[in-house]
Symmetry: C2
Subunit: 439 residues, 2 copies
């Protein structure tokens, strides 16, 4: 009795902790993409993976199968080492906006495919779309052309790229199988590798506002992604960074674009600048434009200071249909009709900030999505006036809400609850954790 391969048997093996072959994994992903493996089978498989994990061989096969479930872009016509950056998502994380043009301006092509925000985290695409006219849904041909001509393109995942990942991600999102290192790894890498990149810098967040709360989990995720990416022939570096408070002072879409422009003008909050410089240095080093990380840091800082990064961002905005005048006239960005201060209920020192709650407050105002089909209001968000260690007096504004027509009371309450004010001293935790590279 020779029996055809069945999804049942693949799930069963994983459930029992037996290693799957490349063929079994490809059968499953292929069937899932085509619809011959049912959603209810794939969700059971995902849950089994949650409990059993995956061996490196299995995970490389899963990533490969998802990567090849759709179109794999070929950017070999573009000269240079193509480098992208991926962040596991945080609150106020607008780094891609200053980073991509800065790195591109220094000669490293940056083909960047980003996502949308969900829950407490924002998404690069939503932020970019707050620039009037900016289009993130470009054709593959335009994407290629822009990378070739201006060294950078900032788009969303196209339907053709990694369809298995799109389908699996939607399924994981409703079956409580998101928080699973092998599934996160294969999801991120399959998408990123399908863009036609040569190297990848990962910003893996840990702390209260991150997906991975503990540094150990973040480290495991980072190491897994570096290992699998390296195995698949790419140069991958991961940086662990702290998310115990929001990045920068702006959380919201147009607000974060403003803050990004500050950075591109050589100003901006030091944490946003520092992270842009570190990740940029990694990209420049991987892109063989910097001799060392220090050289990369110097080059990147210069591009922010001398306006070349900002100039490149203008070109990108223009090429993607946006109004580049926003760079010099902030009033052209959408603005919330009202502002409202959230005031300190007592005097003292900010001991901690529930970063996730800040993200949720912005979401409640309309700056994010509870469900993926929700519409975003680009105008609204949170402007922070205090960070960990700041001394505040009673009634002093902790934050200003930029509000329109939604969720003001809930957001206010959420934000107030996010700040813990006490009497002792408090120090902002260091922004940078470990740096991980391939073998």
């Amino acid at each position: 009795m020779v029996r055809a391969m069945r999804a049942y048997d693949v799930i069963h093996k994983k459930r029992d902790g037996l290693p799957l072959t490349k063929e079994e994994i490809e059968f499953l992903v292929d069937g899932f993409t085509k619809g011959t493996v049912a959603d209810y089978q794939m969700s059971a498989f995902a849950m089994a993976v949650f409990f059993r994990g995956m061996l490196p061989d299995e995970l490389a096969a899963l990533t490969g199968a998802m990567l090849h479930s759709g179109e794999v872009l070929d950017l070999s016509e573009v000269n240079g080492v193509k480098v992208d950056k991926h962040s596991t998502g945080g609150v106020g994380d607008k780094i891609s906006l200053p980073l991509a043009p800065a790195v591109a301006s220094l000669g490293v092509p940056v083909p960047m495919v980003s996502g949308r925000g969900l829950g407490h985290t924002g998404g690069t695409l939503d932020k970019l779309e707050s620039i009037p006219g900016f289009k993130v849904n470009l054709s593959t041909a335009d994407y290629r052309r822009l990378v070739r001509e201006i060294g950078c393109c900032l788009i969303g995942q196209t339907a053709e790229v990694a369809p298995a990942d799109k389908k699996l991600y939607a399924l994981r999102d409703v079956t409580a199988t998101v928080e699973c290192i092998p599934l996160i790894t294969s999801s991120i890498l399959s998408k990123k590798l399908a863009e036609g990149i040569d190297a990848l810098v990962l910003d893996v967040k840990f702390g209260s506002g991150a997906f991975m709360k503990s540094v150990d989990d973040a480290e495991l995720l980072a190491q897994t992604m570096v290992d699998i990416g390296t195995r698949m022939g790419k140069h991958v570096v991961a940086r662990l960074t702290n998310m115990d408070q929001p990045l920068g002072i702006m959380v919201g879409n147009a607000l974060e674009v403003e803050e990004s422009i500050d950075v591109l003008e050589g100003r901006g909050p030091s944490d946003v600048v520092d992270l842009t410089v570190e990740l940029g240095a990694e990209m420049l080093f991987l892109g063989k434009v910097a001799k060392s990380l220090d050289d990369g840091r110097d080059q990147l800082r210069r591009s922010l200071r001398d306006g070349s990064a900002k100039e490149r961002f203008g070109k990108i905005i223009e090429a993607q249909g946006g109004d580049r005048r926003v760079l010099d006239d902030r009033k052209l960005l959408p603005r919330a009709p009202k502002k409202l201060d959230v005031k300190a209920p007592r005097a003292g020192i900010v001991q901690s900030i529930q970063t996730e709650a800040v993200g949720i407050a912005s979401m409640l105002l309309g700056g994010g999505r509870q469900r993926s089909e929700d519409a975003i209001d680009p105008r609204v968000g949170v402007e922070l006036h205090a960070s960990i260690g700041t001394r505040v007096e009673v009634g002093q504004p902790l934050a200003t809400l930029h509000v329109a027509d939604r969720g003001v009371d809930d957001a206010c309450q959420k934000l107030l609850g996010a700040f813990r004010i006490g009497d002792g001293d408090a120090m902002r935790p260091p922004l940078f954790g470990q740096r991980l590279t391939g073998a």
Copy 2:
């Protein structure tokens, strides 16, 4: 923010090993029955239960929710303690056929809802349907009437009873979540308790031909079912019985009816008789018709010897549309057109029999189903001539295959491989293991 209950959160809690409330479990089962909780969510939940298990409170809530997902039959109009028997399934297990009429003939009402065979195990319904005209799909009204009038009715699960279980079982069957004690327990008990019974005798199999290979697993399943059943107000007794070789000598549908008639005539293989007597004694004792198990055994043996059990079976057959003349004229049962001996390849003593392989041989001939939609051939099956400890000579028949048009070569090979013949002595393992009762 008051948030409505979501399937996601229930799955997430179970995944993380947190105890679920009754409300959460009812929400999930209710939504699944109605279709507002998706199959892919329920299969992920089932897989999480596979890994995390369920606490007694959770399991009672799950069983209750599944029980109340459909109609719960009320047999209070029928006098006496209504008792049913459930077996976890084995090869050659035709016990229900002689048992139900014997117990009913002694004054204990037996409302019996049975299942169909799948894979290597046969199903009571398929066996009954090999009696010409016998109908297992009766209305609830007819079911009630037969239990009242003749003390027994042998039917299949109706669409109205425990629809959540039907849906969940189908899902587990294709997502590798069948082998899970809490899910097995809630499946069996929700169906059985919906029949309107007062007490239940469980025959939990262990050994090579059983679903639970190890006696420890079988014991855990038995204890779980006894505990949850008791908690839900029913009298439940479980007997562990050995499945290291088939029960009786016949495996197949009409063939097992024949063997059952032998038992009802005071003859038949001793293991089938002994198991019928033991389970019957338990039912008579629970049904308050026997003063003790020994009294029950005596009464049951008498009903088999004096023809009253057989007479009652005749009444049941007649009432369910079947031809009761089969009881006295075996030629009225469907018969396979051909027979084929499987001969011993060497002399020696039968050391072991892979019971599952015997069941699969019968299935390959058409006596069982590989998939639930397959059609059964009632005529075919396996007649065993040797059991563990039997001395055989080269070329002596180990078994006779009753064959029609399907799977002869495969079945032959499967059966030959099932017998291990050696030189040492071998003893049939004892049929009976532990007896478990409620607190």
